[in-house]
């Protein structure tokens, strides 16, 4: 027995509430963050990720309150991302109760942010979020601003760069697969997992439990992140873990 592969449900947050939507439109309230987080904790989630999809200055206080309320009752690691721009943002989220903070757009604009954050708070709490879209055979490009802006940066090279800067983990989202429910982009996942020494969380595209398994066995991911298959009650975390265990993957019971 060794290190378990992790399952991480991801909650989209707007104005301090969990929301469901398709491509950031038609947002529906999906409940109280504390209740949703407690449910996933009870089901055996290994971590919980929160993405502030508004990421506006006006609603930031609501996000801190929400993280604080979740951290009062849920004692597993909490990762928070969305609109993280500065060392002050990271400190505020950690003080609110986050254990790890994911940095995306601001890290592309200012890669020094990864180094500063890592020196100040430790690499283990600095997650580089990479949104990547296929640009050619075995090539992927980094996008920022929630997937709206292409950067011209090669995703594999960028993964190496952020780790060299001090990121302790990579949250890798395939934009081609996000919401498509056709499985992770295994080529992208494998290429990044092989390129870096830090753990890689695969994200984007899970539609079946087999997709979770393939993200680990074929993609080489250390953790798998999913939203819709858990949110809509299609599968529980427990069912996902049972399927992974049957496939020979080590999980936390």
């Amino acid at each position: 027995m060794g290190l378990a592969k992790r399952i991480i449900p991801c909650l989209d947050i707007a104005d301090g509430r969990v929301v469901k939507g398709v491509n950031f439109v038609n947002l529906r309230d999906a409940g109280d963050p504390v209740e949703v987080a407690r449910r996933y904790d009870a089901q055996g989630a290994d971590e919980i990720a929160f993405l502030d999809i508004r990421a506006s200055v006006e609603t930031r206080g609501l996000l801190y309150d929400m993280i604080g309320a979740v951290a009062d009752q849920v004692f597993i690691p909490l990762t928070v991302g969305g609109g993280v721009n500065s060392i002050d943002d990271i400190r505020a989220l950690l003080n609110a109760g986050a254990d790890k903070v994911s940095i995306n757009t601001a890290g592309v604009r200012n890669p020094e942010l990864f180094r500063q954050a890592s020196n100040r708070f430790g690499a283990q709490c600095v997650v580089a979020a990479i949104d990547a879209k296929k640009s050619a055979v075995d090539e992927w490009q980094v996008y920022i601003h929630g997937g709206r802006t292409p950067t011209g940066i090669d995703a594999i090279q960028w993964a190496r760069d952020v780790v060299a800067q001090g990121a302790g983990e990579i949250l890798l989202t395939s934009m081609d697969r996000d919401g498509a429910r056709s499985g992770f982009d295994l080529g992208l996942t494998r290429a990044v997992a092989d390129a870096v020494d830090v753990p890689v969380i695969a994200s984007g595209g899970v539609g079946t439990l087999n997709d979770l398994i393939e993200g680990i066995t074929l993609g080489g991911a250390d953790a798998v992140l999913a939203a819709s298959i858990f949110h809509y009650g299609e599968f529980t975390i427990g069912q996902a873990k049972a399927a992974m265990k049957r496939a020979g993957i080590e999980v936390r019971d």
Binding site: G2, L3, F75, I76, G97, C125, G168, R252
Partner: protein
């Protein structure tokens, strides 16, 4: 005076530890504090820590709390978490700074060459996630926790005590390493009990009722 003082020397995430302690001991007063007087008055003391060792030791000294931490390490139930364990040793590969030196031994970084498994898989650094902890001996802080229960880890460095007798628990990544130490009134863990769900909360609950005897 607080029942439990969580030492705030200006680094890391202290609220997680304090929240978990408050959860398991709702009657106890838990203070996150940088006040040496409050720490000295507390019945039990928790030294958390994240971040990098040189910055951490510099912050501890800048906070003026080194002496009171050393005093509490000698005379009351004391729990170190993560860097709060590593700081107890003499030196760390993470930087040239001397640590507290309460326990003889060093803190080393996981070796890249050890990370390849016979299966062809390669383990990553940091060691991040849930690994089984093997209890090397009975201790009041293990009460009610199954041997081999998984705890949450997030670290690249681990302690190597000179005296193997202080090792209370081990994990493997993939080589076995000390992840819990116990000596007299001191217990310290490399993993994060405050983030290890039931088993972690049980360990903290054990700490808040512990009389400080091994």
């Amino acid at each position: 005076m607080p029942d439990i003082a969580v030492v705030d020397y200006g680094m890391g995430n202290l609220r997680s530890v304090a929240k978990a302690l408050a959860h398991v001991a709702p009657q106890a007063s838990v203070a996150i504090t940088a006040d040496p007087k409050l720490i000295r008055e507390a019945a039990r003391v928790v030294l958390p820590g994240q971040s990098a060792m040189p910055d951490t030791m510099a912050s501890l000294d800048a906070s003026g709390l080194r002496d009171v931490v050393l005093q509490c390490l000698g005379d009351r139930p004391f729990l170190g978490v993560c860097l709060g364990l590593q700081m107890l040793f003499e030196t760390s590969e993470e930087g040239p700074t001397a640590c507290l030196g309460v326990l003889p031994g060093r803190v080393l970084r996981f070796r890249e060459q050890d990370m390849a498994l016979p299966t062809g898989e390669r383990l990553k650094i940091p060691h991040m996630g849930w690994s089984p902890v093997h209890q090397q001996r009975a201790h009041p802080l293990w009460a009610g926790i199954e041997d081999g229960a998984r705890f949450y880890f997030a670290h690249s460095y681990y302690p190597v005590p000179d005296d193997p007798g202080v090792t209370a628990g081990t994990a493997a990544y993939p080589v076995p390493f000390t992840c819990a130490i116990a000596r007299a009134n001191i217990f310290a863990v490399q993993f994060h009990p405050e983030k290890s769900q039931r088993s972690g909360l049980q360990l903290l609950a054990n700490f808040v009722t512990w009389d400080g005897r091994a």
